[in-house]
């Protein structure tokens, strides 16, 4: 294993160790924090695929995070009330089986990513940033003004969804589910990045002109990456809804998009475990600084400024001594 892979594995092991120690010490709150960090990391893994490897600065990933959340929330609330979700073109019942909810959340997030990506990828650079932001904002306003699922107040579902053979209410068991999914997503990213597809995606970022010259058409590659990225972030959203048993338009807001981006950049752009380091550090800071001052986000802002201006490689970059992506 090279140094980068050791750092990636070490960060993942650290996350699991925190949860296990907390379990042994009887601290369920810490397990919940670790679960939250893992879910945010998963959302970041999705974004990192386009942002880090594709060089596409999407400022609208809250759209997919929120959609995943709303799919989970809507299915669960229908399962509770017994009313079908849709009666046309076929009857669809709600469900509280995670194994049924996840594919739905990913499929819907993927479809929306396909539509948003197809339009946004017509632009590049700063236009792309603004356009993805604007589309996410469109969904945010739609969620606020559409009254069927709580509108501005959000949607609560009182029972966490179920997974066969596990008690999802037990914090450590829910953490295990999230951690396994995060591990799978990290593995998938590593495979994608090393594949022909991943090489083409990185080529289109590093030298678009040359990529075209050797026969790579960036649009299709980028759109595929955008859809996969949206699906991973959508899955994270579904898990986040389950963690809180609540979804609200806040999951779709521009602030959420900014936070997902912060996880990726804080940890290190285009580094496999960057989002994990970033999300972990973010949760830790929130917890530590939140105790110091009610206005901890101002301190977070200053810290971010310092990182952007003086440590562009993020946490993983520092651990790795500034070496290779």
């Amino acid at each position: 294993m090279n140094r980068a892979a050791i750092i990636d594995a070490g960060l993942f092991a650290a996350l699991v160790a925190v949860a296990l120690v907390a379990q042994a010490a009887g601290e369920p709150f810490v397990i919940t924090l670790a679960t939250k960090a893992a879910i945010f990391a998963l959302a970041g893994v999705g974004l990192n695929l386009v942002l880090g490897y594709g060089g596409l600065v999407s400022f609208g990933h809250a759209a997919f995070f929120g959609i995943g959340g709303y799919v989970a929330g809507i299915l669960a609330s229908h399962a509770m009330s017994g009313a079908p979700v849709a009666t046309f073109p076929f009857t669809m019942q709600g469900t509280n089986e995670m194994l049924a909810i996840w594919p739905m959340a990913m499929a819907v997030a993927g479809l929306v990513a396909l539509a948003i990506g197809a339009l946004s990828l017509r632009t590049s650079g700063v236009y792309f940033i603004m356009v993805t932001l604007a589309f996410a904002q469109m969904l945010y306003y739609f969620a606020i003004s559409w009254p069927a699922y709580g509108g501005e107040d959000g949607l609560s579902f009182y029972v966490r969804n179920t997974f066969p053979g596990l008690n999802t209410f037990d914090p450590i068991q829910f953490f295990a589910i999230v951690a396994v999914l995060l591990g799978l997503a990290l593995g998938l990213s590593a495979l994608i990045v090393r594949s022909r597809f991943g090489l083409a995606l990185r080529a289109a970022r590093a030298a678009p002109g040359r990529a075209v010259a050797v026969g790579i058409r960036p649009f299709g590659i980028r759109l595929t990456a955008f859809v996969i990225s949206g699906m991973i972030t959508g899955l994270a959203g579904a898990l986040y809804a389950d963690l809180n048993r609540f979804v609200s338009p806040a999951m779709l807001s521009w602030h959420m998009s900014g936070e997902i981006m912060v996880f990726v950049i804080l940890g290190g752009v285009g580094r496999l475990a960057g989002p994990l380091a970033g999300a972990g550090a973010y949760i830790l800071l929130e917890h530590l600084l939140g105790g110091v001052s009610e206005y901890w986000q101002a301190l977070l802002g200053l810290l971010l400024l310092v990182i952007v201006l003086f440590a562009p490689g993020g946490i993983v970059g520092m651990l790795n001594g500034g070496r290779g992506r």
């Binding site: 017509r122 700063v126 236009y127 604007a134 904002q137 206005y295 952007v308």
Partner: protein, 306 residues
Amino acid sequence: MSALLVAEQVLNGLQYGMMLFLMAAGLTLVFGVMGLINLAHGALYMTGAFACAAVAAATGSFWLGLAASLAAAASAGALVELAVIRRLYARDHLDQVLATFALILVFSETTRWLFGSFPLYLSLPEALSGAVDLPGGLVYPAFRLAIIGIGFAVAVFLFWLIGRTRLGIRIRAGEADREMIAALGVDIGRLYTLVFALGAALAGLAGALVGTIQSVQVGMGEPVLILAFVVIVIGGIGSIRGALVGALVVGMTDTLGKAFLPQLFALAMEPSAARAVGSALASMLIYILMAAVLIVRPQGLFGARA
């Protein structure tokens, strides 16, 4: 829906568009000249609004407050440019987004610490607190008419500044080729600070004016910032003319859509469903418009390049 109601909504749309123009003009200038995407533009809008509220409350004069909003936003803008933004010109857009996002956090939380979370309210100045009788029997608030007037005045001023003055020539030259104008002896650092402060002052003015008709609170800048992005995507980045046209189009579409779409749907559907569908669609209308513009002209209506 009577003609009078339509006329009133058109004026509302015009007023809204003018506010968006004040925001978008600064953003588009900063992007055009420095190539910088500034998310903290909304924070400068908020700074202007709070400065206006604080000074107006302390002195009792709205006009002093308005002057303070310009001064506070311009100096905050210049300060931020010198301390942070200056280091970002050579960086990629990702660093710019993250650093200006961090600036939003700092501005918002500091303001919350200074002024608290509760919204502040400004009272209208005596001279503009009434309503004006317009031809055709329309009665319209004087302050909103004044906002439309201020917006037009700023637009004329900017067209004059960019098109007719020496500073404008330098700004346009900076857009075209920054090395060349630096080589010709123009202090490019000072020019950038000046342009940034000018954009900030316009944002602060918009914040103070909108704060007067709505309320002044932390986080007021970001929704407007995102609308300003929509405006410059539609108008084309770097173009003041594009910002003006885009702002008016967005202001009109949003206002008229919210006012009339629910009623339009009510012709074909039952009232409660029509209200839900109409208002949901109206809130998405400008983004649909933006998507349409992107399909036809990815570089925006007046943009040179995508």
